[in-house]
Symmetry: C2
Subunit: 174 residues, 2 copies
């Protein structure tokens, strides 16, 4: 884990490799993959994200495609509704907005390559379209949890999910 | 203008009044309104926003209701595509994300009461739904202009407008 943290902070998400991290730790790459899964999952563990990319991917792609918008919105709010779970995301938003640094661009690369590109490929839509859908939830999170703009800050979660789900759906499965 | 800046920074957007600002400046409230329009327009001028609420409102409500999503998306990108014009918005995002202060909550109040509540009332939809639509554009702006996540950061503006317009439309005119 220490080797992973060092490697991601010096080389970013795309630049780091499981091979190099394993070499730094003096272990076999297969052992790293056995304990941590993919590079994306290892990164998520290193920055203490409360969910792993594999979890997100299997949750999203498991059920019916017609309900993917609702599943994504529900997953999103289930994380953001817990103060401890949303903390790393708020920290990343802060880092992102306050200026570019290696941690921010590593996180952006991770989100893009581990989540958005994978979803776009599965769903056969342009990556920018997946990003626009995710942007809708990120914008709501910013208003609701970070700035605290009313009435969206006090709205019922189910009401928000009902509102967002069909729009997310239309981005992901047009 | 000096009296307005002082008043908005001590009392926030909702707390400040044109009457008190005029009194501080030693002029008649009618004179303030003659030069600056509404309280919202005066606030926009005080924080040097590149657009005024009256401009936004008339632009949005002038054309056909079926194209309001496209008009809003087009107006949004016309501001954000100009580095000088987006600067106050980026500064506000920074302030909002880095912690609550009076400037941030004044801005949040202003956006809510001057823009979103007005639009919601005109369109007869819940304010939270207008906010969710605006959140979609804010999220895209965050990814595109602030974090620089690809491919949305390099996408063509017309392509983004075409993607966002129908979703914004479905929030505003369901």
């Amino acid at each position: 884990m220490a080797a992973a943290k060092t490697s991601f902070s010096s080389h970013g998400f795309r630049g780091a490799t499981i091979r190099a991290i394993a070499a730094d730790a003096g272990v076999d790459p297969a052992l790293v993959m056995h304990y941590f899964g993919t590079k994306a999952d290892l990164y998520a563990a290193a920055i203490e994200l409360p969910i792993s990319p594999s979890m997100v991917e299997s949750l999203l792609l498991a059920g019916p495609r017609m309900e993917i918008g609702e599943r994504l919105a529900r997953l999103f709010f289930s994380v953001w509704e817990q103060p401890a779970a949303r903390e790393p995301f708020v920290a990343m938003l802060r880092g992102a907005v306050s200026g570019h640094d290696i941690a921010t661009s590593a996180f952006a690369d991770f989100i893009t390559s581990a989540l958005m590109e994978t979803m776009a490929a599965h769903l056969e839509v342009p990556t920018a379209q997946v990003q626009a859908g995710v942007a809708n939830m990120v914008g709501v999170a910013l208003m609701r949890y970070v700035v605290g703009i009313e009435p969206i800050a006090s709205a019922d979660t189910e009401e928000l999910i009902a509102m967002l789900a069909p729009r997310i759906q239309s981005y992901l499965v047009p």
